[in-house]
Structures are given as C-alpha cells and as structure tokens.
C-alpha cells in the first residue's frame, strides 16, 4: 500500500496495480491479459488540469487547479472529496463534454478532443428518458451508434436480463422504484460495452440497503467487462470497498491531495462484509485522516460564507 504524492503518479506508478488485476481477474490467465492489451486505449491520464468557468458577468471561477492523476486500463478509481471540489468537472473533462483551460486530459494516449469514444456516463439523477420504455431507454446506446433497431432491441433485452429486469421491458421509468431505475441506467451505460465508465455519485440518492445491493451488482458487471472506471462519491466506505485506487481531492479550487492504492483482493465479494475486514478498516482510517481535514475546511468555509 503506497501513499503517493499526486505529482509522483506518473505512467509507471500504476503498474503494480495492473499486475494485481491480472492475477485476480475472475477469468484469470491469457484471456484476461489479452483483454487488457486490447484495452490499452482505456488508460485515463490527467496532468496539470486546470478548469476555469466564466460566471455570467464574465468573472473567472477556478473549479479545479493542477489536477493530475491517472487510471490504468481496467482499473476502478474512486474520487472522494468535499462538496464543490470539482469532481464532476473532472468527469466532464474526461468525457469530452468540456475542455480544460490548462493542462491535458489524455485517454488511451490521445488528447481528448470532442466526445471520447467508448465512454459511458452514469449520473446521480436519472438520465433516463421518461417518454421511452425501459427497453427503449436501454436500446438507445446502440441505436445512437447506428446499430439496427432489431439488433439494438435484442441486446437491450439481454442487458435487462443481466440486471434482473426481465418482465419490465414495457414499463416507463416513472413506474419503477429508485433501485430499478438505477438498474436500467446501469444497463443503458454498459450496453455499448464501454472501455471507460464514468460515474457521478450514481448511488447517492438510494437508501443504504439498495445502495449495497447496487454496489454488488456493479462490481459483478464490472468484473465481466472490465472498463476503466472513475467513480465519484462522498462516501469513503463505498470508495474503499469498490475501488483499486482512491483519489482524495481538496476543495475550492479542487486539486488532488493524495492517491491511495487499495490492495484488497478481488473479486471482493459482498461490499457489506468487506467492511469488517481489518485491512479495510486500516485503509479507511488512513484515507479518512487525509479527507477529514478537507471536509472540515470546506465546511468551515461554507458556514463562514453564509454567516
């Protein structure tokens, strides 16, 4: 387990982590490794990224400053930090929805320019289309990529089966519970078999039990497809339980405070039970020490500003 200064996270830094994956991958061996080679385009690298926004009156506002970290192909990277530390900004930069003001965002060695190929997004709020059925929502991904309607619907059916929603194809999103909608969103995000999955507090609005169930399902599906993941969350326990790497961010403007590699073995099994393992507690404690300062600072600032 290494606590590294963010700036040290260079191209070589993640290598031990990658070897780790190959050993632990469910379908270990050659197939697993070949998969990884194919996915070399799934490496995400941010270096010196600064993002400024202009307020409507033309003032510049710095959301993130000099953010540098990298995510290896097939790695599950969680980003934690206090509110308003530019976590979501970072995601929109990786997806190509937005451009950095300074620094570079590279995916698979190439500078991000326009919407990044092979990427999927999952938001805290539903991004489902309320006027489409569950099936139509999931089939959207392949249809936008020009796959024929018949084939798109067939693979959407298959994905609904994989997330346990067979029988709900013709329902509309408003007829489903929060957890079921998350499953639909998950199927919709994974149906294109993305090499990169960006998640912005995807389970933030769920109750604790549903959240645990969804986390397990996510891990199961991730083990099958092995996309690189950037998973944003407020919840440190969730971050440590799911991720291979945890990035702690400071607030206002956001920058990387520290990067931790999580050496809990995979497959992790149930996220509920992993929380009681000594190694988990140790890591959690260590990261929390670093995060607490930031949270307190952010809290003090917001209360200071309002009073």
């Amino acid at each position: 387990m290494a606590v590294r200064d963010a700036t040290v996270t260079g191209p070589g830094a993640g290598r031990p982590g990658r070897a780790d994956h190959a050993n632990h991958a469910g379908r270990a061996g050659r197939a697993g490794r070949a998969d990884h080679a194919d996915r070399a385009d799934a490496r995400i690298e941010l270096s010196g990224v600064t993002k400024r926004f202009l307020t409507p009156s033309g003032e510049a506002f710095t959301a993130t400053r000099d953010v540098s970290f990298s995510v290896e192909p097939g790695q599950f990277c969680a980003v934690v930090g206090p509110t308003g530390c530019g976590k979501s900004t970072t995601l929109s930069l990786v997806s190509g929805l937005d451009r950095p003001s300074e620094g570079s965002v590279r995916v698979g060695g190439r500078e991000v320019d326009g919407i990044t190929e092979g990427i999927s997004f999952m938001f805290q709020a539903d991004a489902l289309l309320p006027w489409k059925t569950v099936l139509g929502n999931v089939a959207m991904g392949p249809m936008f990529r020009g796959v024929g309607k018949k084939q798109a619907l067939a693979s959407a059916r298959d994905w609904l089966r994989r997330v346990g929603l067979t029988g709900f194809e013709d329902h509309h999103p408003h007829q489903l519970s929060g957890g079921m909608r998350k499953r639909v969103a998950m199927a919709a995000a994974l149906i294109n078999e993305p090499s990169i999955l960006l998640m912005d507090e995807p389970f933030g609005a769920l109750d604790v039990q549903t959240k645990a169930i969804m986390s397990n399902e996510l891990l199961g599906l991730w083990e099958q497809l092995r996309p690189s993941v950037i998973f944003i969350t407020h919840d440190l326990e969730e971050a440590v339980a799911l991720a291979d790497r945890v990035v702690v961010m400071t607030s206002g403007p956001g920058s990387v405070k520290a990067v931790y590699d999580i050496d809990l073995p995979r497959p992790r099994g149930s996220v509920q039970s992993i929380r009681f393992e000594p190694r988990f507690l140790e890591l959690h404690h260590q990261i929390w020490e670093s995060l607490r300062e930031e949270v307190q600072r952010a809290y003090a600032r917001t209360t200071g500003e309002t009073s």
């Binding site: 929109s92 929805l97 997004f121 938001f123 006027w131 489409k132 059925t133 936008f144 294109n192």
Partner: protein, 296 residues
C-alpha cells in the same frame, strides 16, 4: 385453537366491512354524479329559459338580443335550405371554408412555431439576437395584420390562413422555446456521451421533452386559428362563417349571428376533443397527475 378461530372470525369480519364500505362508496359516487348532471341541466334550463322568457314577455328586445327559439329556427334553416341557405352557397360550404382556413393556418403556424422554437431554444446566440424582436412582435396586436393581408392577398383564402397562422405561431413558438430550454441537462449530456448526433438529440431527446409544452399550447392555439379565420372573413371574403356573421349583422339578424356562433363553438369543441385525444396518445408515458387521479 381459540386464537385461531378468533383470527379467522376477524378476517371475515374485515372482509364484510370492506365490501360494505365499497358498496356505500359506489352508491355515494353514483349519487354525486347524478346530482352534478341534474344541476348542469338546471343551469342550461335557467339561462336559456330565462332568455326565451325575457324576450317573449318583452323585457328584452328580440330584435337586438335574439331569441333561443329563433336561433334554433335559424339553425334549421341554415342546414335545410341547401344552396339557398345563404347568398353565397350552402351552409356546409361556409363551414368547410372556415374549417379549411383554420386547419391550414393552424398547421402552418404550429409547424413553423415548433421549428423556430426548437431552433432558437437550441441556439443561445440566435435566442439572444432574436429574443427582443419576438417580444416586440408579440406585443403588437397581430389581429390588425389581417387588414394588411387582405389588402396584399385579396379576399381569397390565403389572407385568412396567414392570419390564423400568425396567431397560432406565437403561442406555439413560445411554448416550444420554453420546452426546449427545460430539457434536463443530464439527459442531454448522457445522450451526447452515448454518441448521439445533433439530429438524433433533437429527435429523441429535445422534441419529445418539449412535446408536453407544445401540446399544451395547441389547445389554445386552435382557438386562435378559428379567431384568425373568422376575423379574416369579416374583413373581406367570398365564403365562410365570418361572412355569414357579417351578413347577418348587416341585415339586423341577431339570431343568424348566434346560430353561426353556435356552429363555431361546436367546431372548436370537436377540435379540442381531437387535440386531447392526440395528447393522451403522445403523452401516454406521463405518470397520472395528482389532480387527474383524484378527479371523480
């Protein structure tokens, strides 16, 4: 054993209580419906009967205010006299003319309204440039444009269609514009990341999302289309219900005016019914609104 039997007795007791409550509920609902229907009929009888009575007794002059029986007679005449019903052809022809103008104007105005609304809603620059002008044009009493159209395009159907279209355009445009602006940012970002082209985004995300707003505007918009067609006809026409009204006015025939008004009301209500049908069909995905669910 004893607890078992009491439990069984309890459940059957609840069941019969439930049935009884349901029965009483159904009766109460039926009674209320009947009451509402009777009251409605009563209002019609009082208003029409009062009108008839007042004009018969002489409190009101039927020469100015018409008379329900006279209006009914006039309606029968309109529909039974064939080519002789009006000086300019059968009554059906007048209905057809007005309906055609209103429907064409409605279609033209609605389509251009949606196109411009979506385009300006999508493009901040265009919206900033055209925004103030649209506000200004919206503030102008556009019905006056009818005079210009009649002068420019003669007394055929074109000026009526254009007037109806102009009135419809602004209603639909502002709603479409607002609807496009209200599209959920997350949904848009998600569609873009999934690889949707700008055209696919408009077709699958923006238009369906704005449809709630657009359809809401169509209800009022059809009313405006009819107003546009009628005013155009009053200003100058060869056929149409507006001309029927104008002729009746010139020959001091209030019953004729009222009869034409009645026919127009029937047309407007039928259109409203059709639009509501369309709304239910297109917006079937919407959860039932609380007011609908609570309605009896």
């Amino acid at each position: 054993m004893t607890t078992d039997t009491t439990h069984a007795a309890d459940t059957t007791g609840t069941a019969t209580a439930d049935t009884r409550a349901t029965g009483a509920g159904v009766r109460a609902v039926r009674r209320r419906r009947l009451l509402v229907l009777t009251a409605r009929l009563g209002v019609a009888v009082v208003v029409l009967g009062g009108w008839q009575l007042a004009t018969t007794v002489g409190w009101l002059d039927p020469f100015f205010f018409g008379q329900p029986s006279g209006i009914a007679r006039r309606l029968v005449e309109f529909f039974s006299q064939g080519q002789q019903a009006t000086e300019f052809g059968s009554f059906w022809l007048q209905i057809e003319t007005t309906l055609k103008e209103a429907v064409l104007g409605f279609a033209l105005g609605a389509v251009t309204g949606v196109v411009f609304g979506v385009a300006l809603g999508q493009n901040q620059f265009l919206a900033d440039v055209f925004g103030p002008y649209l506000k200004i044009v919206n503030a102008i009493p556009r019905i006056v444009l009818g005079s210009i159209f009649v002068v420019a395009f003669g007394i055929g159907e074109t000026p009526k269609i254009l007037l109806a279209a102009v009135l419809v355009f602004f209603v639909v445009f502002f709603n479409a514009f607002q609807g496009v602006r209200e599209v959920d940012r997350n949904i848009l970002a998600n569609a873009r990341v999934l690889g949707a082209s700008p055209l696919q985004i408009v077709r699958h995300v923006v238009v369906p999302s704005a449809l709630t707003w657009i359809i809401a505007s169509l209800h009022t918009a059809f009313g405006f289309a009819i107003v546009g067609a009628l005013v155009g006809e009053v200003l100058g026409a060869q056929n149409g219900l507006g001309l029927v009204i104008k002729t009746a006015q010139n020959s001091f025939d209030p019953n004729g005016v009222f009869a034409a008004m009645f026919v127009i009301a029937v047309i407007a209500l039928s259109a409203e019914w059709l639009i509501t049908k369309l709304e239910h069909r297109l917006l079937s995905w919407r959860p039932p609104s609380p007011s609908e669910a609570a309605a009896i």
